[in-house]
Symmetry: C2
Subunit: 573 residues, 2 copies
């Protein structure tokens, strides 16, 4: 490919509002162009990377006996009503009416379509296990698209669905997919990725693992144990909280705290540690019941865990509506409606001599004792793990970090097969609903994640396995007749030798050429100039290591092919 003809331009400026490395470089290097919020066009180099990633994913899916299919982007309401998700998913599911007034939707995932396909076409246990997958455009009406291809509305995704007769068979297959996912990330050139147990969310299953690129720029919070390898998404992570010290506690005393409302203000006013307080956070359930959650002042509520405890989605409550004195709510003599749920986090267990709200404007109580004053209370774990908590497996201090979700796999159970009525015949003549697994990878996010991990301060650094071109060929001084002739000949020879080469045939300065090549990120750069030609060599520089070698021109093709193969072998080994 001649760079002069390549659709796309290279920009010097950081695009407005772009914060993530991948977002900045994808725009600046001419890979993507925004069409609308969270909606992008893929320019030729991005499309090439995308297709290489797709090829790796297809290869791994086919190795698992996956059968590639294609489900529609647009689906009818009826299909999603079978599973109950037409109503249960909120606004991310884009619904619309077609010209006949029929309710339709844009697929954000395809469990229903997958079950629809195998229903009646897979009838016997002999056909199981089977896995179908597609690579298809999806649309999620994302409230807060961000970061270029990291969080978008429209995206290309590989989604796979497997069907099994027994949980053991699903477990076995799930593990194989898990391993395939690890290989996929490795093959696209990622190193710093992990998998964590996660919440299955709207998928509705039980076991779920997320694959995460560990990076400070991630939105997801991760909890890791460097000793035993425990890893979890913050949403489901458990931590061992430090124990509260036993103490003799005098009688409860009401103290004036005035305008001090937040836990920080109260602690500052009373000159105490947040660890010596019990704060209240109030929610309402879907059916408008009040939930008062007490936990030690240095912890925050893990809303996912709390929602599971109360078996309902929750949102922050308007406490005034329930007659509570916001900022002074406490666990002693709290008056709440009869159907309210009051919960205590395990961080309060054994806490002695702490401060809590007096349930009275301007006052708090001090000298509260968990053992004395919270008698008979059940403590549950619904706090977010925090720095300093210890590993639930080995007791080592946990490390908190951030990540970008680059894929997820779920055990779905029979949620979809049961609700949609899919059954297969068993050897004994009975009919059962198959157990499902589902497995997703966003192609665009995977692409951006590679840039997040490998990009440096000059631009993108593509691994050899997914680079749009393997070689960026930058002849300097194309106005020099000799350089010109040799360049076009070399370009032709490289292409004939099967080397994927981007040929900078522009008559621009050496500075522009070299800067552009670093921005665009091909793994190998080949420079020739009157000077190198005088020595009969080409300057070959590796984008990642910046290592440069001068290679005799007559060895160039074979050397390039060797380097390319070595790099691929190194990644795929």
């Amino acid at each position: 490919m001649k760079l002069s003809k390549l659709v796309g331009e290279r920009l010097k400026e950081v695009p407005n509002g772009a914060l993530l490395k991948s977002h900045i470089y994808l725009i600046r290097a001419g890979y993507i162009k925004q069409v609308s919020t969270g909606i992008f066009s893929m320019l030729p180099p991005a499309q090439k990377v995308s297709q290489k990633i797709q090829a790796i994913i297809r290869d791994e899916m086919n190795k698992l006996d996956g059968q590639e299919v294609l489900f529609p982007v647009v689906m009818p309401r009826e299909l999603w009503e079978l599973s109950g998700r037409y109503n249960s998913i909120q606004e991310e599911l884009l619904r619309f009416k077609d010209r006949t007034g029929h309710d339709m939707l844009l697929g954000m995932t395809h469990e229903e379509a997958a079950v629809h396909m195998v229903m009646n076409t897979v009838k016997s246990h002999e056909q199981l296990p089977c896995m179908i997958y597609q690579i298809q455009t999806k649309y999620r009406d994302e409230a807060r698209p961000r970061g270029g291809l990291i969080r978008v509305k429209e995206f290309l995704m590989k989604d796979a669905y497997s069907f099994h007769t027994t949980q053991e068979d699903l477990d076995f297959y799930y593990k194989k997919v898990y391993d395939a996912y690890n290989r996929i990330y490795k093959r696209i050139g990622l190193k710093n990725f992990i998998s964590v147990r996660s919440d299955s969310g709207i998928m509705g299953g039980k076991v779920a693992d997320e694959f995460m690129l560990v990076t400070d720029s991630g939105e997801d919070r991760l909890v890791l144990c460097d000793k035993c390898g425990y890893k979890a998404n913050m949403e489901v992570a458990e931590g061992v909280k430090d124990e509260n010290d036993p103490a003799e506690v005098p009688e409860i005393e009401e103290v004036f705290t005035g305008n001090a409302k937040t836990i920080e203000e109260v602690c500052h006013f009373l000159e105490i540690d947040t660890k010596k307080t019990a704060k209240a956070v109030c929610y309402v359930t879907e059916d408008d019941k009040l939930v008062v959650a007490f936990l030690r002042g240095d912890y925050d509520v893990n809303e996912k865990k709390l929602a599971k405890l109360v078996k309902s989605e929750i949102k922050v409550a308007d406490t005034d509506k329930f007659g509570l004195t916001s900022g002074n709510i406490g666990c002693i003599n709290l008056e709440v409606p009869g159907d309210a749920v009051v919960l205590y986090d395990t961080s309060l267990e054994g806490l002695e001599g702490f401060v809590t709200g007096a349930n009275k404007e301007d006052y708090h109580l001090k000298n509260v004792s968990a053992s004395r004053d919270l008698e008979g209370v059940t403590f549950n774990d619904f706090a977010l793990v925090k720095e300093g908590d210890r590993c639930p497996v080995c007791g080592e201090k946990l490390r908190l970090t951030r990540g970008i979700e680059i894929g997820n796999i779920f055990q779905l159970g029979t949620k979809y097969t049961k609700s949609m009525g899919m059954k297969v015949g068993m050897p004994d003549g009975t009919m059962i609903e198959p157990i499902m697994g589902c497995y997703g990878i966003g192609i665009g996010r995977a692409l951006a994640s590679v840039i997040e991990e490998k990009g440096d301060d000059r631009g993108i650094v593509w691994p050899m396995t997914i680079a749009p071109w393997q070689v960026h060929f930058c002849p300097l001084r194309l106005d020099d007749e000799n350089v010109n002739a040799v360049s076009y000949e070399l370009y032709k020879k490289m292409e004939e030798a099967g080397i994927e080469v981007l040929f900078d045939d522009r008559k621009v300065s050496a500075g522009v050429k070299l800067t552009d090549s670093e921005l665009m990120g091909m793994p190998i750069r080949v420079v020739i100039s009157p000077k190198t030609m005088a020595n009969g060599v080409a300057e070959v520089t590796m984008r990642e290591s910046h290592e440069t070698n001068f290679i005799p021109l007559h060895d160039l093709l074979s050397e390039l092919k060797a380097i390319i193969q070595d790099e691929i072998d190194e990644i795929e080994k």
Copy 2:
């Protein structure tokens, strides 16, 4: 692939409402499954065919220096307002609001997105010509989906857009794409296809060619000249009408025709030939002006041509609203509103002694003479070509037939670059709006068209170039230990030899296996049984010719590979 594990089932029954061969077989052979009206899932074999067709198309596009990109399915209103199409396209353009209330749409074509991509990224004449293409899901809110994959709402399409500085350059490139399209259809195995000049419709350009599979099952009407090769879509076809005979005509006479209203009723009542009548067809323009179109009774109005003449979309008028006596409208003493347009087709030129409405309930006029009574009238051609009309080029009798549109290419002019403000710099420093071409092929329709052309009364007949598998391997009597062992070994060897094989490993009757293999349509069927094995041979049958050969087992792999290569060479030659 083992057939026992393949997702999909083979059906005996013709699916409800399916009329087209391709629709029937795609359902019966387990290739597609309907999800909603005009919306289908592609099962594994269809996905394989689709991908092979895509690969051929990519190859041809890349040979034209096409750069593959990906535009979004969902686009914002603003983008389509730039071209004016947000409002000009009717209900086929699916519009919806996203969660923020923003007006969005589902792409049914991507001219706007293409210009958006090259705007500012292609700035100089040096970068032109350039062509970008994508293979992407499209959605057209089709009023009457029909025929399985022939006319659907959601479909996969290759669409390409080229940009040029001069008309000559576009003409040159357009011809190259035209040739590439011919190669594509040939390579996917079609024979009976032609290209015809067509109307550019909502695309808004001037020159347009449609590629048509000639078949009685087609929706499009085609006009062909077998002598000189003139070909056109009925919508734009011109025909030389037979000349009207000169004659002396007595005075106009009013005759009672009572309830005879249609031209057939009037002719029957008066016992005259429809060729001796002038009928009126009334339309209204977009701004509600009346259009009265007179033409000889044996012709019908070509509404596309008429719309072009009046420079407006037209629809059939409610004649009562304009005070016309429906069924008795005639070209003599017609009273119409001042802004009405009255048009006469060339079929009326020189017509002597004809009947037309008297513009009076229950009466018609006879003895009307074009030369005497339609003095000063301009005759235009807006009649549909009919059987018996002659070729506008060579005068030979035209042949009317039907076709399925399998692709189209358009010269768009500067409609989009001008309206969207895309300019490139020319050598003399001026800025010009590039001239565009666009080029589309629907993948699913191409797939179905191959079945329409080649399918026989037993099922699908795939050409070797796009068959999901090259060989359908049907061992009979797998309960026989010897057959069983040899079958699994042969299957393994075929796969190792790179032969794409569908292995019918089911323990079902020979009848079911052979019927299924003919229904599914792989080009080569290999049968082994205790009988063939006793002779040390396999029975190899070609799906298309039904020719059978017995090939020694030890030669089977090499023979199969030779047959496969020959078939591919034959198609691609």
